[in-house]
């Protein structure tokens, strides 16, 4: 329980933002769904067959799994809030349409006849009689849609639209169940609160309900107008993958750019998603910059030209390849990398290392019989993982596969005495573990560097320049420490990023 409260306090800023984002996405989707569904329902009132077809069609849309729908939308509208809102609208249309139609068609015929007999025009009849009478049914549909939207909107985080899904994903990523629970609870609470709010409105006087409905509509619309009328600045959008490390890095980028270019507005999209999402977003010009690893570029983003050898070359050469391939194939600019190498790492406890005088991976050969390894399944099967250890180091150990998130815990509790990990993992710092040196250069190099869109590089070379102060900076120890500060100590990535820049005089160095 105390951990829960601690997490709640340390993540309050994230939580608050996520809730706001979540509400915004949900309400925008709801309003659009209302604007679409209600008029359609009104216009098909006297066309039973059309109404039937629409109901069936909306029903079919609703059976598409939300994840699949989000995936299907990416080729057309990219990623981020737009596809998320579209998907949510698609789901919300059915209940709103259906309830509006049923509410309007189930009105007593005699009332309809009375309205006609009194000389009401179609519009008068609609506004004075039909809509007010059907309102409770319509609002019930809106309520149903809203609850569904708020629940489904957690998936929006998968395509970089943010919201409470971010906390859930982050929790899964950090193996921090508390964070996942907070995200899920917040979403559930949000659904309950909004549902109750609408219920109260429904019970209230008609004019209050309409006023409240307008207010609900006004929040996202007002927000949109506010953003639209703000003085036009150069806005740079920087995104990062899921996790603390990208989050810290993009905060550094923001600090550096804004310090040097006061008229530039940097928008951060932390925990934006997985590699392919970010890369596609960069291609679609939805984001301008994101930090990417050299290894990842060559392994999965570019087509490696014939004759280019990526193994057994120096890190500098590897970066050169990545930069050239990105430029040739996508026109992107890949800035010089930072120092640290976030690659596979072989990790033991300090006591174990001291006892057997372990420094390099090759030292493990001497105590092969005493080793009991806990390797992640992917590492076990990769040629540059355990198979490489066998081939390059001649190591053969009894090993069991351990889930990536549980390896450190297994090592700490003594269930295993050697594990694989990533060199900047905060747990290494947290438990004071020792990382053995890859003295035979088995593991590929994964150096982080800002990947910049073609347009930004062309139009604002000065802004891009400001990021180059990070080139060759940040060691693995430093990165690990910063991850530790965020993941374990609960500091905000922005504070950690700023502290680092200030401590290393990187902010001042660039300012003139």
């Amino acid at each position: 329980m105390s951990h829960f409260i601690q997490t709640l306090i340390s993540e309050r800023y994230n939580l608050f933002n996520a809730i706001l984002q979540h509400i915004e996405i949900s309400l925008v989707a709801l309003v659009i769904a209302i604007i679409i569904a209600v008029p359609i329902a009104i216009s098909v009132l006297s066309h039973k067959k059309v109404a039937y077809v629409i109901t069936q069609f909306a029903g079919v849309l609703q059976t598409i799994p939300s994840l699949a729908l989000l995936g299907l939308l990416i080729p057309f509208v990219g990623i981020g809030e737009v596809p998320a809102v579209i998907a949510l609208v698609v789901y919300a249309i059915l209940p709103i349409f259906q309830n509006t139609y049923i509410g309007l068609t189930s009105i007593d015929e005699s009332l309809d006849e009375a309205a006609d007999a009194f000389g009401m025009t179609k519009f008068e009849k609609l506004t004075k009689v039909q809509l007010p009478i059907a309102l409770p049914t319509i609002i019930a549909g809106i309520r149903q849609a809203l609850v569904m939207i708020i629940g489904t909107a957690t998936l929006a985080a998968l395509i970089g639209a943010g919201g409470l899904g971010n906390l859930i994903l982050l929790g899964i990523d950090r193996n921090d169940n508390t964070l996942t629970i907070i995200g899920a609870l917040a979403a559930a609470l949000l659904a309950i609160i909004f549902s109750a709010l609408i219920y109260v409105l429904q019970k209230g006087k008609l004019r209050y309900s309409i006023a409240a409905l307008l207010l609900i509509i006004a929040i996202p619309v007002g927000n949109g107008i506010y953003h639209a009328v703000q003085p036009k600045q150069t806005t740079i959008t920087i995104a990062g993958k899921l996790g603390s490390e990208p989050d810290i890095l993009i905060n550094m980028y923001k600090e550096l750019i804004e310090a040097k270019n006061p008229n530039t507005n940097v928008v951060l999209k932390p925990n934006f998603g997985q590699t392919s999402f970010l890369f596609n977003a960069l291609k679609a010009k939805q984001i301008d910059i994101y930090p990417e690893f050299t290894g990842t570029v060559l392994e999965s983003l570019v087509k490696v030209p014939h004759g280019q050898r990526d193994t057994g070359v120096t890190p500098e050469k590897l970066y050169g390849y990545a930069k050239k391939d990105l430029k040739d194939q996508f026109g992107f600019d890949y800035l010089p990398p930072m120092e640290y190498n976030n690659t596979y790492s072989i990790i033991v406890t300090k006591a174990f290392a001291d006892k057997y005088h372990l420094k390099n991976i090759s030292d493990l050969r001497n105590i092969e019989s005493k080793l009991h390894a806990g390797f992640d399944l992917e590492f076990l099967n990769r040629p540059d993982g355990y198979k490489g250890l066998q081939a390059k180091y001649g190591l053969s150990v009894t090993s069991q596969s351990v889930d990536a998130a549980l390896r450190y815990e297994a090592l700490r509790s003594g269930k295993v005495n050697v594990i694989d990990g990533f060199s900047t993992d905060s747990q290494i710092r947290q438990y004071n573990f020792v990382e053995l040196k890859d003295n035979h250069h088995l593991f590929p190099v994964y150096q982080g560097a800002p990947l910049v869109s073609a347009t930004l590089a062309k139009e604002h070379p000065a802004i891009i320049d400001t990021l180059n102060v990070l080139a060759g900076k940040i060691t693995e120890d430093e990165m690990r420490e910063m991850n530790y500060q965020v993941n374990v100590k609960g500091k905000s990535p922005a504070v950690v990023a700023r502290n680092f820049l200030v401590a290393h005089h990187l902010l001042g160095a660039n300012q003139k």
């Binding site: 005699s110 009375a114 309205a115 006609d116 007999a117 009194f118 000389g119 009478i133």
Partner: protein, 320 residues
Amino acid sequence: MTETLIKLDNVSKVYQDKTVVSNLSLDVHAGEFLVLVGSSGSGKTTTLKMVNQLITQTEGAVIFKGKNVSEYNLRDLRLQIGYVLQQIALFPNMTVGQNISLIPEMKKQPKAATSKMVDDLLREVDMDPANYRHRMPNELSGGEQQRIGILRAFAANQDVVLMDEPFSALDPILRSQLQALVKKIHQQFGTTIIFVTHDMDEALRLGDRIAVMRHGQILQVDTPEEIVKNPANSFVSELFANSMAQDVFGVYLSRLELLDYLEVQPDANATVDLETSATVGEAIKLLAQRDTITLATKKNGLAVLTKAQLFKFISEFQDM
């Protein structure tokens, strides 16, 4: 001499292959109370609805104030014609006050005057404005609802009010009360009324003139006296032969206003003769053999109903 307000000129209504009204002609005089009477399927409601064009005739012309209704803007036409439905159809989303003032407001009559008129009308039907004005229709009894339905139709001072079997769903007591109300309003304002019913007593009681309909045609149009005295044919004479019928026998005891004033049955162990859900007819049957019967009333428990009390009620019933 009498001015014709509405003229139905040779109108017919045919649905697919079914003729509901055929070649019907009828003049409605300004200020008269005209009752269309006939059994179900005689075409009386269809004829009524042609006046405000809720139903358009297949042939013939409907003339309102000397002008063919097809030349009117439909809204303008209907704003001059009040309408009362059997289903009452008060708008459930509006208060009593809003229902009554709906048409005056649609006619853009001054708000203050409308508001005062609503109060006056409510007082006219013994419904205290302070108590009833802000109630919703579902907070009213059936009889109260239809009273408001009638006020709604008359509130805008219409030239003519159409009433489509407005009382056929009400019990005999309420029916007499509301008939009296409509008669009173008619005399007070001189509004032309076209009233549809299948109840011959109602027709005789209300109509200045009665139009008897059968198979989509009018058999006879005349004053009640003339129709009873000189029926046009045997159908009409049979129709009215059994009139002045035994409605009073169908009245539920629970509706007897004298019920509250009955003496309490002194013998607590007396057998209950009737529940108050029984009718006057059942009570008469029992009272034919003895002078008092014991009723189980909701309000006062066991009560005694005497022959004299019931006779007094029956005699007053006809005066209502």
